[in-house]
């Protein structure tokens, strides 16, 4: 069975961009959620191998998601990637401090994301 990747991002255009990038680098099961809540619901159901998350989202923010994942025995080892925009350095630093593994700044090249995917689950 192929590895599962979770994308948490409220922009549908960004989500499709990210998932098509991931599709380009191998056979993965991709789950998309538009809100942090959806992500919280998916977490116990699917054994994710990687989580890609935005920071500014409507319900719970990306930092809260990272902190939640890192403090939970069941999920704490899932690699997490922050996708953020320039101008949010402070939030990004906080995210890394909370235990995110990587970050990408929009606009990023597909290769940058593919490299990260290869590094953690290639």
């Amino acid at each position: 069975m192929s590895d599962s990747i979770l994308i948490v991002e409220d922009s549908s255009t960004m989500r499709s961009f990210i998932s098509s990038t991931i599709e380009g680098c191998g056979d993965y099961e991709i789950y998309e959620s538009a809100t942090g809540f959806e992500a919280l619901k998916l977490l116990p159901q699917i054994g994710f191998k990687l989580i890609i998350t935005d920071i500014n989202m409507p319900d719970i923010n990306g930092l809260e998601l990272i902190s939640f994942v890192r403090k939970n025995q069941q999920y704490k080892d899932i690699p997490m990637v922050i996708i953020s925009t320039e101008g949010t350095e402070m939030d990004r630093r906080k995210g890394m401090a909370l235990g995110a593994n990587e970050y990408l700044v929009k606009p990023f090249r597909p290769e940058d994301l593919q490299k990260i995917i290869m590094k953690y689950i290639g």
């Binding site: 922009s11 255009t13 959806e38 923010n61 902190s67 925009t85 939030d91 906080k94």
Partner: protein, 663 residues
Amino acid sequence: MEQNKATKEFVAESEELIDKIFKDIDEIDTARKKGKPNPDTINDLFRSAHSLKGISSMFGFKEITEASHRMEDLLDKVRLSKVPITDALIKTLYAAGDTLRTMISSETFGKGMDIGPMLQQLRDAETAKQEEQKDAIFEDILLTKDILAVLTEYEESRLRENIKDGNNLFKIAASFSLLSFDKELADLTNQLKSFGEIITTLPSTTEAREGEIKFDILLGTTAPEEHLTSSLDFKNIKLQNIRKQATAKGPEGPAAVKGVMDESASIKGIAQTVRVDISKLDYIMNIVGELVLSKTNLVKISESIRKSMGFTGVSVELAKTIKELERKLKELQLGVLEIRMIPLSQLFDKVTRTATRIAKGLNKEIELEFYGADTELDKLIIEELTDPMMHIIRNSIDHGIEPAEERLIAGKPAKGKIVIRAYQKGNHVLIEIEDDGRGISLSSVRKKAVEKGLLQPSAKPARDELFNMLFLPGFSTKSDVSEVSGRGVGLDVVKTNLRAVSGMIDVDTQEGKWSRFTLTLPVTLAIIQALLIEADGKRYAVPLNSINESLSVPSDEIRIVENKEVIKLRETVLPVVRLSKLFNFNTIGDKQEQGYYVIVVGSGEKWVGILADKFVGQQDVVIKPLGKLLKGVKGIAGAADIGSGEIVLVLDVSVFMEEAVRS
């Protein structure tokens, strides 16, 4: 192809974002005048600019990226309370929104557009300083480092503002079932929002029971603790006051932003909507239409079986099954139609925004009133309606509503008023747009018509005929064409646009007092009930919703008055048209012995009769467009398959009315 689909997705999402941007600016502007704008709205506005920047940058649309980036930077400072919300700021935001919209709707996505001045404006706005403020310190609140660590910069700033304002701060711990937490949490959130501002909602990492999830909600409010405890009716909730000293200002503190808060969409609302490409619905509709035809064929087969073997055994079963199929098909049809229907309120929102901007630009004060915003119409029709509506309203503001001084002299209130009423009448939706401006001068319409050679100087046209001239190409009564109402293209375009969706337009006015445009639209375009008629050996379908009545008349009751064929209908004279004449077909014979059927079509004051030799029947038809070659033929709305492969032309009756008036 792939690129194309992605770009489409970009356009769809960015248009939605722009709409949200305008809605939020409007809301902030309105709330600001009443007190404090809702921080959630400001944050939403920021997030829209942020998302727009994010997606446009991925597509490499440099200008859109740059513009939305600047806007985002500015809004970031606004939401962090570093830049105050002023008239100038709102104006800058509107202008930036306009530029963004122009770029998104342009074919090149703003490539090469000069956005320098706009960027400069946004940059200038950023430098407007908020009064120096002392940072509230987090020392006097009981929050663990864990919680502070997960607050975004924005949330931190909201926390600071709440402390600064002297509000009470509560941490509300709640646990929910993993299966339904989003709904329950949304309910709790909505309830809490009536007390104040939710600073953050974080999934708690402390042990939760199997199958449950805990959340900590941070609430800033002027309400005292007792209020909360007495009104919250949720089980499994723990409330903790996290201010060290209870220093809340109480009721005299800044008014809770309550009223504004209630309007924010609930999370539930977002989760239960899907966006569907309308072409997919059209596709389903087409299939439904074809199914209806298959059913019609089945009925015919069933009848012939019944004739040959009698009403027994299989033929009874078949008839029953067909009845069942018929019922379900009808439900399916209604269901699909329902999906396509959206309330007019969406259009009204758009209209309000644009109208406010136009009025501002013309230095006129107007007030808009809407009635019947929940009247529903086919989405396709609503889309086609935006331009005509805007055109009429632009006209009203520009030409109709007088400048304030002039209004006062005429004994009217300085503020102009435009009332828009929508209501359903049978299979039609009527939209009236009425302004209390100077009205339309019949004598200037007449003068202009003579000047343009549309009218003989000696002619004595009826009121209606004069009004009809307003809709002729190139007609404009205002001698100097102003920038707002457009470049001499006028109501004729409105009429053409409306005709594309089988709509009609009428106008009425009282000089000096008011003018009113009435749009008549079909509820849906997809499937219509039609009357099949035969005239001069050819079959046609007439949309049932445009037929008022039908009658039969002996041939000798058709008379000729002023070169027009007419009949006497009760106390009035009704012009009649022959389809063969209208479409230049060869006629079989001029006089029909047994007389004619007359189908009376029209609306309002205008009626015309269509002559037919025979009624064939009544059935549902799906109108299909004619090919390019026949597209321009007047009087034909399209073609329809009426089963067993026979194709008939569907008449566009709105054209007949003009012909009758003109010929």
